[in-house]
Protein backbone atom coordinates (compact mmCIF):
# COMPACT_ATOMS: atom_id res chain seq x y z
CA UNK A 1 0.00 0.00 0.00
CA UNK A 2 2.81 2.37 0.96
CA UNK A 3 4.66 1.47 -2.24
CA UNK A 4 1.56 2.19 -4.37
CA UNK A 5 1.08 5.53 -2.64
CA UNK A 6 4.76 6.43 -3.22
CA UNK A 7 4.53 5.39 -6.86
CA UNK A 8 1.42 7.49 -7.32
CA UNK A 9 3.18 10.44 -5.66
CA UNK A 10 6.21 10.05 -7.95
CA UNK A 11 3.95 9.80 -11.00
CA UNK A 12 2.12 12.93 -9.94
CA UNK A 13 5.34 14.91 -9.53
CA UNK A 14 6.57 13.84 -12.97
CA UNK A 15 3.17 14.51 -14.58
CA UNK A 16 2.73 17.94 -13.00
CA UNK A 17 6.33 18.89 -13.82
CA UNK A 18 5.67 17.79 -17.38
CA UNK A 19 2.44 19.80 -17.70
CA UNK A 20 3.87 22.85 -16.00
CA UNK A 21 6.95 22.92 -18.23
CA UNK A 22 5.09 22.03 -21.43
CA UNK A 23 2.95 25.15 -20.99
CA UNK A 24 6.13 27.17 -20.43
CA UNK A 25 8.05 25.75 -23.41
CA UNK A 26 5.33 26.14 -26.03
CA UNK A 27 4.93 29.81 -25.18
CA UNK A 28 8.67 30.57 -25.54
CA UNK A 29 9.37 32.37 -28.81
CA UNK A 30 12.99 31.25 -28.99
CA UNK A 31 11.86 27.65 -28.67
CA UNK A 32 9.69 28.10 -31.75
CA UNK A 33 12.62 29.47 -33.71
CA UNK A 34 14.56 26.33 -32.81
CA UNK A 35 11.74 23.89 -33.33
CA UNK A 36 10.00 25.39 -36.39
CA UNK A 37 11.99 28.05 -38.21
CA UNK A 38 15.37 26.23 -38.14
CA UNK A 39 14.07 22.87 -39.47
CA UNK A 40 11.97 24.68 -42.08
CA UNK A 41 15.04 26.54 -43.31
CA UNK A 42 17.13 23.37 -43.28
CA UNK A 43 14.38 21.47 -45.13
CA UNK A 44 14.58 24.00 -47.96
CA UNK A 45 18.37 23.70 -48.07
CA UNK A 46 18.30 19.90 -47.99
CA UNK A 47 15.68 19.96 -50.74
CA UNK A 48 18.12 21.72 -53.05
CA UNK A 49 21.10 19.61 -51.93
CA UNK A 50 19.28 16.36 -52.77
CA UNK A 51 17.11 17.68 -55.65
CA UNK A 52 19.04 15.70 -58.25
CA UNK A 53 19.08 12.45 -56.25
CA UNK A 54 15.39 11.63 -56.54
CA UNK A 55 12.42 11.87 -54.14
CA UNK A 56 13.73 9.22 -51.70
CA UNK A 57 16.86 11.23 -50.97
CA UNK A 58 14.88 14.48 -50.76
CA UNK A 59 12.41 12.92 -48.29
CA UNK A 60 15.28 11.57 -46.20
CA UNK A 61 17.04 14.94 -46.24
CA UNK A 62 13.91 16.77 -45.12
CA UNK A 63 13.26 14.34 -42.25
CA UNK A 64 16.88 14.71 -41.20
CA UNK A 65 16.26 18.46 -41.05
CA UNK A 66 13.33 17.68 -38.77
CA UNK A 67 15.63 15.54 -36.61
CA UNK A 68 18.13 18.39 -36.37
CA UNK A 69 15.30 20.63 -35.21
CA UNK A 70 14.28 18.03 -32.63
CA UNK A 71 17.86 17.74 -31.36
CA UNK A 72 18.52 21.49 -31.28
CA UNK A 73 15.23 22.41 -29.63
CA UNK A 74 15.64 19.58 -27.13
CA UNK A 75 19.16 20.59 -26.08
CA UNK A 76 18.21 24.25 -26.00
CA UNK A 77 15.07 23.53 -23.96
CA UNK A 78 16.82 21.13 -21.57
CA UNK A 79 19.69 23.47 -20.83
CA UNK A 80 17.24 26.22 -20.00
CA UNK A 81 15.12 24.12 -17.62
CA UNK A 82 17.12 25.00 -14.55
CA UNK A 83 18.10 28.38 -15.90
CA UNK A 84 14.39 29.15 -16.07
CA UNK A 85 13.87 27.90 -12.51
CA UNK A 86 16.76 30.07 -11.31
CA UNK A 87 15.39 33.08 -13.16
CA UNK A 88 11.98 32.61 -11.56
CA UNK A 89 13.50 31.87 -8.14
CA UNK A 90 11.60 28.57 -7.99
CA UNK A 91 14.71 26.38 -7.82
CA UNK A 92 15.22 27.26 -4.14
CA UNK A 93 11.75 25.99 -3.35
CA UNK A 94 12.22 22.81 -5.37
CA UNK A 95 15.48 22.13 -3.54
CA UNK A 96 13.87 22.40 -0.09
CA UNK A 97 10.99 20.09 -0.95
CA UNK A 98 11.28 16.50 0.30
CA UNK A 99 11.22 15.03 -3.22
CA UNK A 100 14.29 14.73 -5.41
CA UNK A 101 14.86 17.39 -8.05
CA UNK A 102 15.55 14.47 -10.40
CA UNK A 103 11.82 13.67 -10.60
CA UNK A 104 11.08 17.26 -11.52
CA UNK A 105 13.82 17.18 -14.15
CA UNK A 106 12.44 13.95 -15.66
CA UNK A 107 8.98 15.50 -16.12
CA UNK A 108 10.45 18.68 -17.58
CA UNK A 109 12.87 16.89 -19.93
CA UNK A 110 10.00 14.81 -21.31
CA UNK A 111 7.99 18.01 -21.82
CA UNK A 112 10.86 19.55 -23.77
CA UNK A 113 11.35 16.55 -26.05
CA UNK A 114 7.63 16.17 -26.76
CA UNK A 115 7.33 19.85 -27.62
CA UNK A 116 10.48 19.57 -29.76
CA UNK A 117 8.85 16.82 -31.84
CA UNK A 118 6.93 19.55 -33.60
CA UNK A 119 9.96 19.91 -35.90
CA UNK A 120 9.67 16.26 -37.00
CA UNK A 121 5.95 16.69 -37.65
CA UNK A 122 6.69 19.80 -39.70
CA UNK A 123 9.23 17.91 -41.79
CA UNK A 124 6.62 15.22 -42.57
CA UNK A 125 4.08 17.87 -43.57
CA UNK A 126 6.75 19.46 -45.79
CA UNK A 127 7.38 16.15 -47.56
CA UNK A 128 3.64 15.60 -47.99
CA UNK A 129 3.23 19.01 -49.64
CA UNK A 130 6.40 19.28 -51.75
CA UNK A 131 7.71 15.76 -52.37
CA UNK A 132 4.86 13.26 -52.31
CA UNK A 133 2.85 10.98 -50.03
CA UNK A 134 4.91 10.43 -46.90
CA UNK A 135 3.94 6.75 -46.70
CA UNK A 136 5.53 6.09 -50.07
CA UNK A 137 8.86 6.68 -48.36
CA UNK A 138 8.38 5.65 -44.75
CA UNK A 139 6.68 2.80 -42.91
CA UNK A 140 4.41 4.37 -40.27
CA UNK A 141 5.12 1.87 -37.47
CA UNK A 142 8.87 1.92 -38.03
CA UNK A 143 8.97 5.73 -38.08
CA UNK A 144 7.00 5.88 -34.83
CA UNK A 145 9.42 3.38 -33.23
CA UNK A 146 12.48 5.42 -34.29
CA UNK A 147 10.97 8.74 -33.24
CA UNK A 148 9.90 7.34 -29.85
CA UNK A 149 13.32 5.77 -29.24
CA UNK A 150 15.02 9.01 -30.35
CA UNK A 151 12.76 11.08 -28.10
CA UNK A 152 13.58 8.85 -25.14
CA UNK A 153 17.30 9.04 -25.82
CA UNK A 154 17.22 12.81 -26.44
CA UNK A 155 15.23 13.45 -23.27
CA UNK A 156 17.76 11.43 -21.23
CA UNK A 157 20.55 13.59 -22.64
CA UNK A 158 18.42 16.62 -21.85
CA UNK A 159 18.07 15.33 -18.30
CA UNK A 160 21.82 15.05 -17.91
CA UNK A 161 22.31 18.53 -19.34
CA UNK A 162 19.70 19.74 -16.85
CA UNK A 163 21.57 18.16 -13.93
CA UNK A 164 24.73 20.09 -14.85
CA UNK A 165 22.88 23.37 -14.71
CA UNK A 166 22.20 23.06 -11.00
CA UNK A 167 25.74 24.38 -10.64
CA UNK A 168 26.61 26.14 -13.89
CA UNK A 169 25.47 29.29 -15.55
CA UNK A 170 25.60 30.35 -19.22
CA UNK A 171 23.63 27.51 -20.81
CA UNK A 172 24.04 29.10 -24.24
CA UNK A 173 27.73 28.04 -24.29
CA UNK A 174 26.84 24.40 -23.67
CA UNK A 175 24.02 24.63 -26.20
CA UNK A 176 26.45 25.87 -28.85
CA UNK A 177 28.90 23.12 -27.95
CA UNK A 178 26.31 20.35 -28.01
CA UNK A 179 24.36 21.52 -31.03
CA UNK A 180 26.70 22.38 -33.90
CA UNK A 181 29.63 19.92 -33.52
CA UNK A 182 27.10 17.15 -32.97
CA UNK A 183 25.20 18.22 -36.11
CA UNK A 184 28.42 17.66 -38.02
CA UNK A 185 29.55 14.38 -36.47
CA UNK A 186 26.06 12.84 -36.42
CA UNK A 187 26.25 11.88 -40.08
CA UNK A 188 23.27 14.00 -41.08
CA UNK A 189 25.07 16.44 -43.32
CA UNK A 190 28.46 14.72 -43.70
CA UNK A 191 29.27 11.00 -43.86
CA UNK A 192 31.04 9.99 -40.66
CA UNK A 193 33.46 7.75 -42.62
CA UNK A 194 35.28 10.96 -43.58
CA UNK A 195 36.39 11.40 -39.98
CA UNK A 196 39.22 9.65 -38.07
CA UNK A 197 38.32 6.49 -36.13
CA UNK A 198 38.16 8.31 -32.80
CA UNK A 199 35.61 10.83 -34.07
CA UNK A 200 33.65 8.01 -35.72
CA UNK A 201 33.52 6.33 -32.31
CA UNK A 202 32.30 9.56 -30.69
CA UNK A 203 29.66 9.84 -33.43
CA UNK A 204 28.29 6.48 -32.41
CA UNK A 205 27.79 7.62 -28.83
CA UNK A 206 25.52 10.41 -30.06
CA UNK A 207 21.82 9.43 -30.32
CA UNK A 208 21.34 11.75 -33.31
CA UNK A 209 23.63 9.45 -35.33
CA UNK A 210 21.43 6.42 -34.57
CA UNK A 211 18.24 8.37 -35.26
CA UNK A 212 19.34 9.42 -38.74
CA UNK A 213 20.69 5.93 -39.37
CA UNK A 214 17.30 4.48 -38.40
CA UNK A 215 15.50 6.76 -40.84
CA UNK A 216 18.01 5.85 -43.55
CA UNK A 217 17.31 2.16 -42.89
CA UNK A 218 13.54 2.69 -43.00
CA UNK A 219 13.62 4.52 -46.33
CA UNK A 220 15.76 1.69 -47.74
CA UNK A 221 13.44 -1.01 -46.26
CA UNK A 222 16.14 -2.56 -44.09
CA UNK A 223 15.45 -1.29 -40.60
CA UNK A 224 17.55 -3.01 -37.96
CA UNK A 225 16.58 -3.61 -34.36
CA UNK A 226 20.21 -2.88 -33.40
CA UNK A 227 19.65 0.80 -34.20
CA UNK A 228 16.69 0.97 -31.82
CA UNK A 229 18.61 -0.92 -29.13
CA UNK A 230 21.55 1.48 -29.42
CA UNK A 231 19.22 4.49 -29.18
CA UNK A 232 17.59 3.09 -26.04
CA UNK A 233 20.92 2.03 -24.56
CA UNK A 234 22.45 5.50 -24.99
CA UNK A 235 19.36 6.92 -23.29
CA UNK A 236 19.60 4.53 -20.33
CA UNK A 237 23.34 5.23 -19.92
CA UNK A 238 22.68 8.96 -19.80
CA UNK A 239 19.83 8.40 -17.34
CA UNK A 240 22.15 6.47 -15.02
CA UNK A 241 25.03 8.93 -15.37
CA UNK A 242 22.61 11.79 -14.69
CA UNK A 243 21.34 10.23 -11.48
CA UNK A 244 24.90 9.43 -10.36
CA UNK A 245 26.24 12.91 -10.85
CA UNK A 246 23.12 14.57 -9.45
CA UNK A 247 24.03 13.85 -5.84
CA UNK A 248 27.53 15.28 -6.24
CA UNK A 249 26.33 18.30 -8.17
CA UNK A 250 23.53 18.96 -5.68
CA UNK A 251 25.84 18.65 -2.68
CA UNK A 252 28.36 21.01 -4.26
CA UNK A 253 25.60 23.53 -4.94
CA UNK A 254 24.50 23.30 -1.29
CA UNK A 255 28.07 24.05 -0.20
CA UNK A 256 28.46 26.97 -2.52
CA UNK A 257 24.86 28.16 -2.12
CA UNK A 258 24.65 28.78 -5.85
CA UNK A 259 21.01 27.90 -6.50
CA UNK A 260 19.75 31.42 -6.99
CA UNK A 261 22.57 32.65 -9.21
CA UNK A 262 21.91 32.81 -12.93
Amino acid sequence: MVKISRLSSVTRIITFSFMNHFKFVITERLFFINAIITPLGLSILFYFIYANNGPNEIALGVVKAGLLGLWGANIWGASFILQGEKRLGTLDYLMVSPKSIYLVLIGKSVAVVIASNISVIISFVWIQIFVGSIWEFFDLVQVIVIILASSFSFSCIGLMVGVFFINFRQPEILVQFLTYPIYIISGIAVQIELFPILIQFISKTVPLYWSQRGLFEIINNKMSITTVIFLLMIGVINLIIGSLILKKVERRARWTGDFSKY
Partner: protein, 255 residues
Protein backbone atom coordinates in the same frame (compact mmCIF):
# COMPACT_ATOMS: atom_id res chain seq x y z
CA UNK B 1 11.03 21.89 24.30
CA UNK B 2 13.72 22.92 21.80
CA UNK B 3 12.73 22.15 18.22
CA UNK B 4 15.71 23.87 16.65
CA UNK B 5 19.26 23.59 17.99
CA UNK B 6 22.09 25.45 16.31
CA UNK B 7 25.59 24.78 17.65
CA UNK B 8 28.77 26.60 16.57
CA UNK B 9 27.62 27.01 12.99
CA UNK B 10 29.87 28.77 10.51
CA UNK B 11 29.34 29.38 6.82
CA UNK B 12 31.82 30.80 4.35
CA UNK B 13 31.30 31.62 0.70
CA UNK B 14 34.01 31.78 -1.92
CA UNK B 15 33.75 34.89 -4.05
CA UNK B 16 35.76 35.12 -7.27
CA UNK B 17 36.81 38.24 -9.11
CA UNK B 18 38.85 39.11 -12.19
CA UNK B 19 38.47 37.84 -15.74
CA UNK B 20 41.86 36.41 -16.71
CA UNK B 21 43.42 36.13 -13.26
CA UNK B 22 40.65 34.65 -11.14
CA UNK B 23 41.08 35.70 -7.55
CA UNK B 24 39.23 33.86 -4.83
CA UNK B 25 38.19 35.50 -1.60
CA UNK B 26 36.53 33.96 1.43
CA UNK B 27 33.52 35.76 2.77
CA UNK B 28 32.37 34.77 6.25
CA UNK B 29 28.57 34.81 6.29
CA UNK B 30 28.16 33.17 9.71
CA UNK B 31 30.74 32.64 12.43
CA UNK B 32 30.23 30.27 15.38
CA UNK B 33 26.52 30.91 15.72
CA UNK B 34 24.67 29.04 18.49
CA UNK B 35 21.09 29.24 19.76
CA UNK B 36 18.01 27.15 20.52
CA UNK B 37 14.42 27.79 19.50
CA UNK B 38 11.50 26.49 21.51
CA UNK B 39 8.33 24.96 20.12
CA UNK B 40 5.60 27.54 19.44
CA UNK B 41 8.01 30.46 19.60
CA UNK B 42 8.45 33.34 17.15
CA UNK B 43 12.21 33.83 16.93
CA UNK B 44 13.48 36.81 14.97
CA UNK B 45 17.06 37.26 13.79
CA UNK B 46 17.53 41.00 13.19
CA UNK B 47 20.48 42.99 11.93
CA UNK B 48 21.77 45.18 9.12
CA UNK B 49 22.18 44.02 5.52
CA UNK B 50 24.91 41.40 5.30
CA UNK B 51 24.52 40.37 8.94
CA UNK B 52 23.86 36.75 7.94
CA UNK B 53 20.07 36.49 8.42
CA UNK B 54 19.30 35.11 4.98
CA UNK B 55 22.24 32.69 5.15
CA UNK B 56 20.90 31.49 8.49
CA UNK B 57 17.44 30.89 6.97
CA UNK B 58 19.07 29.05 4.03
CA UNK B 59 20.94 26.78 6.43
CA UNK B 60 17.94 26.13 8.66
CA UNK B 61 15.78 25.32 5.64
CA UNK B 62 18.40 22.81 4.33
CA UNK B 63 19.05 24.83 1.17
CA UNK B 64 22.70 25.33 2.09
CA UNK B 65 25.11 23.33 4.23
CA UNK B 66 27.25 24.76 7.05
CA UNK B 67 31.05 24.53 6.88
CA UNK B 68 31.25 23.70 10.56
CA UNK B 69 28.83 23.12 13.40
CA UNK B 70 25.59 21.29 13.79
CA UNK B 71 21.94 22.10 13.18
CA UNK B 72 19.28 19.80 14.64
CA UNK B 73 15.65 20.35 13.70
CA UNK B 74 13.03 18.23 15.44
CA UNK B 75 15.79 15.73 16.35
CA UNK B 76 17.04 15.39 12.76
CA UNK B 77 20.41 16.61 11.56
CA UNK B 78 20.29 18.88 8.51
CA UNK B 79 23.40 17.14 7.17
CA UNK B 80 22.36 13.51 7.69
CA UNK B 81 18.57 13.60 7.30
CA UNK B 82 17.55 16.71 5.36
CA UNK B 83 14.61 14.91 3.64
CA UNK B 84 12.92 14.27 6.99
CA UNK B 85 13.33 17.90 7.97
CA UNK B 86 11.94 19.15 4.67
CA UNK B 87 8.60 17.46 5.35
CA UNK B 88 8.27 19.41 8.59
CA UNK B 89 9.27 22.88 7.46
CA UNK B 90 7.65 25.57 5.36
CA UNK B 91 9.81 28.26 3.77
CA UNK B 92 9.28 31.73 2.37
CA UNK B 93 12.49 33.29 1.05
CA UNK B 94 11.07 36.73 0.44
CA UNK B 95 10.92 38.85 -2.68
CA UNK B 96 8.59 38.43 -5.63
CA UNK B 97 10.44 35.54 -7.24
CA UNK B 98 9.66 31.92 -6.46
CA UNK B 99 6.43 31.32 -8.37
CA UNK B 100 5.71 30.26 -11.96
CA UNK B 101 4.49 33.49 -13.51
CA UNK B 102 2.82 32.03 -16.56
CA UNK B 103 0.49 29.69 -14.72
CA UNK B 104 -2.35 30.44 -12.34
CA UNK B 105 -2.06 30.78 -8.57
CA UNK B 106 -4.03 27.56 -8.11
CA UNK B 107 -1.81 25.64 -10.55
CA UNK B 108 1.26 26.92 -8.69
CA UNK B 109 -0.11 25.63 -5.40
CA UNK B 110 -1.11 22.31 -6.98
CA UNK B 111 2.37 21.91 -8.41
CA UNK B 112 4.23 22.62 -5.18
CA UNK B 113 1.69 20.63 -3.15
CA UNK B 114 2.50 17.55 -5.19
CA UNK B 115 6.08 17.71 -3.96
CA UNK B 116 4.88 16.99 -0.42
CA UNK B 117 3.04 13.68 -0.91
CA UNK B 118 -0.32 15.17 0.06
CA UNK B 119 -3.20 12.97 -1.21
CA UNK B 120 -4.74 14.72 -4.20
CA UNK B 121 -8.24 15.25 -2.77
CA UNK B 122 -6.82 16.58 0.47
CA UNK B 123 -4.46 18.84 -1.44
CA UNK B 124 -7.35 20.40 -3.37
CA UNK B 125 -9.23 20.92 -0.12
CA UNK B 126 -6.19 22.52 1.54
CA UNK B 127 -5.63 24.81 -1.43
CA UNK B 128 -9.25 26.00 -1.18
CA UNK B 129 -8.82 26.70 2.53
CA UNK B 130 -5.47 28.45 2.14
CA UNK B 131 -6.65 30.60 -0.76
CA UNK B 132 -9.54 31.61 1.45
CA UNK B 133 -7.17 32.28 4.37
CA UNK B 134 -4.93 34.58 2.33
CA UNK B 135 -7.90 36.20 0.60
CA UNK B 136 -7.04 35.06 -2.93
CA UNK B 137 -9.97 32.78 -3.77
CA UNK B 138 -11.36 35.16 -6.39
CA UNK B 139 -8.04 35.47 -8.24
CA UNK B 140 -7.03 31.79 -7.97
CA UNK B 141 -7.37 31.12 -11.72
CA UNK B 142 -5.43 34.22 -12.79
CA UNK B 143 -1.80 34.01 -13.87
CA UNK B 144 0.81 35.07 -11.31
CA UNK B 145 2.21 37.67 -13.76
CA UNK B 146 -1.01 39.67 -13.37
CA UNK B 147 -0.62 39.90 -9.57
CA UNK B 148 0.66 42.76 -7.45
CA UNK B 149 3.59 42.26 -5.07
CA UNK B 150 1.23 41.79 -2.12
CA UNK B 151 -0.84 39.18 -3.94
CA UNK B 152 2.28 37.23 -4.87
CA UNK B 153 3.41 37.34 -1.26
CA UNK B 154 0.07 35.93 -0.13
CA UNK B 155 0.41 33.06 -2.60
CA UNK B 156 3.95 32.50 -1.27
CA UNK B 157 2.51 32.21 2.21
CA UNK B 158 -0.21 29.81 1.05
CA UNK B 159 2.46 27.68 -0.65
CA UNK B 160 4.56 27.72 2.51
CA UNK B 161 1.62 26.36 4.55
CA UNK B 162 0.37 23.76 2.03
CA UNK B 163 1.72 20.73 3.87
CA UNK B 164 0.80 22.10 7.29
CA UNK B 165 4.43 22.42 8.46
CA UNK B 166 5.30 22.50 12.16
CA UNK B 167 8.18 24.92 11.66
CA UNK B 168 8.00 27.96 9.39
CA UNK B 169 10.88 30.10 8.10
CA UNK B 170 9.87 33.52 6.84
CA UNK B 171 12.59 35.70 5.33
CA UNK B 172 11.28 39.25 5.06
CA UNK B 173 7.68 38.27 4.27
CA UNK B 174 6.38 41.86 4.20
CA UNK B 175 9.23 43.39 2.18
CA UNK B 176 7.86 46.12 -0.09
CA UNK B 177 4.20 45.52 0.81
CA UNK B 178 1.66 48.25 1.48
CA UNK B 179 0.27 48.88 4.98
CA UNK B 180 -2.86 46.78 4.51
CA UNK B 181 -1.08 43.79 3.00
CA UNK B 182 1.62 43.90 5.69
CA UNK B 183 -0.99 44.00 8.43
CA UNK B 184 -2.90 41.02 7.01
CA UNK B 185 0.33 39.01 6.82
CA UNK B 186 1.20 39.95 10.41
CA UNK B 187 -2.25 38.78 11.52
CA UNK B 188 -1.71 35.53 9.68
CA UNK B 189 1.64 35.03 11.43
CA UNK B 190 -0.01 35.63 14.81
CA UNK B 191 -2.68 33.06 13.99
CA UNK B 192 0.00 30.57 13.01
CA UNK B 193 1.75 31.09 16.34
CA UNK B 194 -1.55 30.63 18.17
CA UNK B 195 -2.02 27.32 16.39
CA UNK B 196 1.30 26.12 17.86
CA UNK B 197 3.66 26.67 14.92
CA UNK B 198 7.30 27.54 15.52
CA UNK B 199 8.29 30.52 13.40
CA UNK B 200 11.66 32.00 12.46
CA UNK B 201 11.05 35.43 11.01
CA UNK B 202 13.48 38.00 9.61
CA UNK B 203 12.54 41.56 8.81
CA UNK B 204 14.01 45.03 8.62
CA UNK B 205 10.78 46.53 9.94
CA UNK B 206 11.31 46.89 13.69
CA UNK B 207 7.66 47.66 14.42
CA UNK B 208 6.81 44.30 12.89
CA UNK B 209 9.43 42.51 14.99
CA UNK B 210 8.24 44.33 18.12
CA UNK B 211 4.68 43.20 17.44
CA UNK B 212 5.46 39.58 16.65
CA UNK B 213 8.71 38.40 18.26
CA UNK B 214 8.96 36.34 21.41
CA UNK B 215 12.75 36.59 21.23
CA UNK B 216 15.14 38.42 18.97
CA UNK B 217 18.71 37.59 17.97
CA UNK B 218 20.75 40.66 17.09
CA UNK B 219 23.14 39.68 14.30
CA UNK B 220 26.07 41.66 13.00
CA UNK B 221 28.77 40.61 10.53
CA UNK B 222 27.89 36.93 10.78
CA UNK B 223 27.79 36.70 14.56
CA UNK B 224 25.03 36.84 17.13
CA UNK B 225 25.64 39.72 19.53
CA UNK B 226 22.67 39.16 21.75
CA UNK B 227 19.58 36.98 22.17
CA UNK B 228 16.82 38.44 24.30
CA UNK B 229 13.11 39.14 24.59
CA UNK B 230 11.98 42.39 22.98
CA UNK B 231 11.13 43.84 26.41
CA UNK B 232 14.50 43.02 27.95
CA UNK B 233 16.35 44.24 24.88
CA UNK B 234 14.62 47.62 25.07
CA UNK B 235 15.16 47.89 28.83
CA UNK B 236 18.83 47.05 28.51
CA UNK B 237 19.31 49.73 25.87
CA UNK B 238 17.13 52.10 27.91
CA UNK B 239 14.91 52.91 24.93
CA UNK B 240 11.15 53.07 24.48
CA UNK B 241 10.89 51.27 21.17
CA UNK B 242 12.77 48.47 19.46
CA UNK B 243 14.01 50.56 16.55
CA UNK B 244 15.79 53.02 18.87
CA UNK B 245 17.15 50.19 20.99
CA UNK B 246 18.39 48.36 17.89
CA UNK B 247 20.18 51.43 16.49
CA UNK B 248 21.66 52.28 19.84
CA UNK B 249 23.02 48.77 20.39
CA UNK B 250 24.40 48.57 16.84
CA UNK B 251 26.25 51.87 17.27
CA UNK B 252 27.53 51.06 20.72
CA UNK B 253 29.55 47.86 20.54
CA UNK B 254 29.89 47.72 24.34
CA UNK B 255 26.21 47.24 25.14
Amino acid sequence: MNVIQVKDVSKKYIVTSGIIRRRKKEVVALSNVSFDIQKGEIFCPIGPNGAGKTTLIKLLSTLALPNTGQIIIDNYSIIKEPEKIRKKIGVLYGGERGLYWRISARDNLLYFGNLYEIPFKELKHRIDNLLDLVGMTERQHDKIETFSKGMKQRIHLARCLLHNPEIIFLDEPTLGLDVEASRSIRELIKNLKNSGKTIVLTSHYMNEIEELADRIALMDKGTIREINTVQNFKQKANKMNLEDAYLSVLKNKDI
